[in-house]
Symmetry: C2
Subunit: 455 residues, 2 copies
């Protein structure tokens, strides 16, 4: 049969279940802790913040497969299955013997993988009779996705958008408003958390940590309202496994199996989404030696240079204590254009995987990420999101190593989104106005030293 | 077999030939004229401006099917075949018995159908040994597409971008630059045509007609350089028939045949692309009664309110004289946000079809177009290009008529592109800052009265 560039799957082949790797991990993650009592978190502890089924998924270490509700699958079918693409153009430009594949999540109508969890979270909230939801967004990919999901399920949504993105990325704000969401620049005067930080630092440009605090606070103070989160937490990554499950079928059709799987890493949702369904084979079969590489920005290197420690997911300390690699919940990353990767901590599962050496991490400088993205655009025709550029840079590094050694490795990376709404950053890169941000070991040490030691 | 929302085709089903309706039209269009001699144009007359094979395609009234070169098909496979989607969400919101389908050209990596002809034109230029190409762009969809195509075939590209778009749509400019194109705001001081209009009207915000004049002039004065155009001409529409040919196969799989086919109309490339492959059945079989509706902006209604007359394709008069419905080549349309529809004339084939009553036209007010686009976004999850909103508005009108009569018509429209890079226009619509532009009959009459009468 003639080889194709794109391996597509009919929507009838859409997975019927998500893969819950927690249930199969040989070393389970440490328990999340109730911050008041420091005792292991129970699902009920999360009910004030999250929809109940999402809270249960968060802590589910029993069920390997979790049904994707029909209502969610129906909306997945608007854009899924997404194509798996052989990057012949990039391979040729690099002169590498490696075979490079990418899972193209940029075909989602909001431009990124975030919709996979947004639809699920909105559905479970609606099912529980919730009428209002809140969230935060950095670059705006998650906010845009959740805005459509809220619209699809008839929920009212308030989005706290990191102030610098609110100002620099007006298109993403407009997308949210087109879907009917209310968008508030964070820090704002609408919450205690926002007012406190604005009082202390009147010109603060915002961070994901602060925006999360604001969104949680609003949810807790609004009747019939829950909070939703776009990454980091286990249930979010669970929903994203639809990516890897599709990719697994598609790689079978391609007649290859990946030696290396790469995703950019903010909180871990697109990385876990593509990696975990393949990692289950590593867990079950010792002969499987697939490597998993999380590509993070050098300006926010929690996996590569952070510490493993209990920490909060937000600035103020409203979330449970999470056992994770972190730079400290007060860490304020440099204003790189990959706004979706500006987060201080890594999800609990990925953190445990790194401790167990099941995954690797690399940190990528901002200029290298854009150089990689430009090459990808010019050879494959798709302008990637600044976040995805980190995965591409790591992929290029691996492919270049193959060129040196002559190895025909099979590399699969997740193209988490397109960059058409992030052209300002490409503009600046082309004009030579972008810089790298070096982070001293002292800075990191100083910041993490503030954390309360629990493990 | 379970019904699917999306009908997808594997890239192995990509058409191998374009459909050349000129060869099958019962009434051929009048000849284009050499403006100097007023004699029928020959392909050689176009060689100074266009690649030779494109010039031959322009005037080809003989060959019904024209091979798509393998190099072009190979690049089509980066994003084609595009999905055909049943718009269940929109149908439900309208409560219509009609079945609404759309061909989703927005999944192209540059966000619109324009890439279908850009790749073909760049290929034929490259094949002829041409090194430099020029073009114009209004909203920027064509410029973005050609920039990637030029990059893919290793051509240098200069794009004259209508000044108001250059300033209002910086993202599209950045996309072109990311692919390595040079972008110049038009009118510019780099051409005689540009200097003349800037001298007469120093604050002129530009028009497609002026930008075309500049691009042609640069091509004629640059060694080994040809001009390319994104719509209007027959060869452009030929390349776009890949849309309708795919849609025909997909409608067969859906088990339905369209009663009404709708496209927005600027020069006619996306309209002709989806319409002409279906129209061949109307031509050959009198029992086929499919209707074809061109949806144009009320501010630029050449089909609905223009005159059929020989006219130039550009402001200055560098192009051949084209027999077309026109508002006059000096007509300066209002600055609606659907920049791609701000063009004074309609392609020669579509003009003849309108004379022969084989197609219909409707004009859509700006506010109605955005209202339709918002509804589509909220029900289908895709934010459409402002141009495509005109097709959606016409579709909604047809579907509402079905609701009144109870008819289960099958409506197919072309979603020519997404609007993610046009969010400023949605922002203004939501804020109530957009207006309709009424055009008096006197204005139209005054403008077309300046045309030299040839037919």
């Amino acid at each position: 049969m003639e080889k194709t560039k794109k391996i597509i799957l009919d929507e009838r082949e859409l997975p019927e279940k998500w893969y819950n790797i927690q249930a199969e991990m040989p070393n389970k993650p440490l328990s999340m802790l109730n911050p008041a009592t420091k005792t292991p978190l129970k699902a009920e502890d999360l009910y004030p913040i999250f929809a109940e089924e999402l809270a249960q998924q968060e802590l589910n270490q029993t069920d390997v497969w979790i049904d994707i509700p029909e209502e969610v699958r129906d909306l997945y079918k608007n854009y899924r299955c997404t194509p798996l693409v052989r990057a012949y153009g990039l391979e040729k430009a690099l002169g590498t013997p490696a075979h490079i594949y990418f899972k193209n999540e940029s075909v989602s109508p909001v431009g990124s993988h975030k919709l996979n969890s947004a639809l699920a979270q909105a559905y479970y909230c609606k099912k529980q009779g919730i009428t209002n939801i809140t969230t935060e967004t950095g670059a705006g990919q998650w906010g845009a996705a959740l805005s459509y999901a809220a619209c699809a399920f008839g929920l009212e949504l308030a989005v706290y958008m990191v102030k610098i993105s609110y100002e620099q990325k007006p298109y993403r704000r407009s997308i949210m408003q087109t879907f009917g969401a209310q968008v508030i620049a964070s820090p704002s005067m609408s919450t205690k958390a926002g007012r406190k930080i604005l009082t202390d630092h009147p010109n603060y440009q915002g961070s994901l940590g602060t925006a999360i605090s604001e969104a949680i606070e609003l949810a807790m103070n609004t009747p019939n309202c829950k909070y939703t989160l776009g990454s980091v937490l286990n249930h979010v990554i669970l929903h994203q496994t639809v990516i890897g499950l599709e990719a697994e079928k598609q790689m079978q059709i391609a007649g290859e199996y990946p030696d290396v799987i790469i995703g950019c890493f903010g909180g871990g949702s697109n990385f876990g989404g593509i990696a975990f369904p393949f990692m289950r084979h590593n867990i079950k079969d010792d002969t499987k030696k697939t490597r998993f590489i999380a590509a993070e920005p050098a300006s926010c290197p929690k996996l590569t240079r952070g510490v493993f420690q209990y920490d909060f997911g937000d600035e103020t300390g409203y979330t449970p204590l999470l056992p994770m690699f972190t730079l400290g919940h007060n860490f304020s990353p440099a204003h790189i254009h990959a706004g979706g990767l500006r987060y201080h901590g890594a999800g609990v599962i990925a953190s445990q995987m790194l401790k167990d050496k099941r995954i690797e991490s690399v940190d990528i400088e901002q200029l290298d990420s854009f150089k990689a993205g430009m090459l990808f655009a010019q050879t494959e025709g798709i302008i990637p999101a600044p976040e995805s550029n980190h995965a591409i840079a790591a992929t290029i590094n691996e492919a270049n190593r193959c060129k040196e050694t002559g190895e025909k490795k099979v590399i699969l990376f997740n193209l988490s989104g397109h960059g058409l709404i992030d052209m300002v950053s490409y503009d600046k890169y082309i004009a030579g106005d972008l810089v790298n941000y070096s982070l001293s070991s002292e800075e990191i040490a100083k910041n993490v030293s503030k954390l309360e030691k629990i493990v």
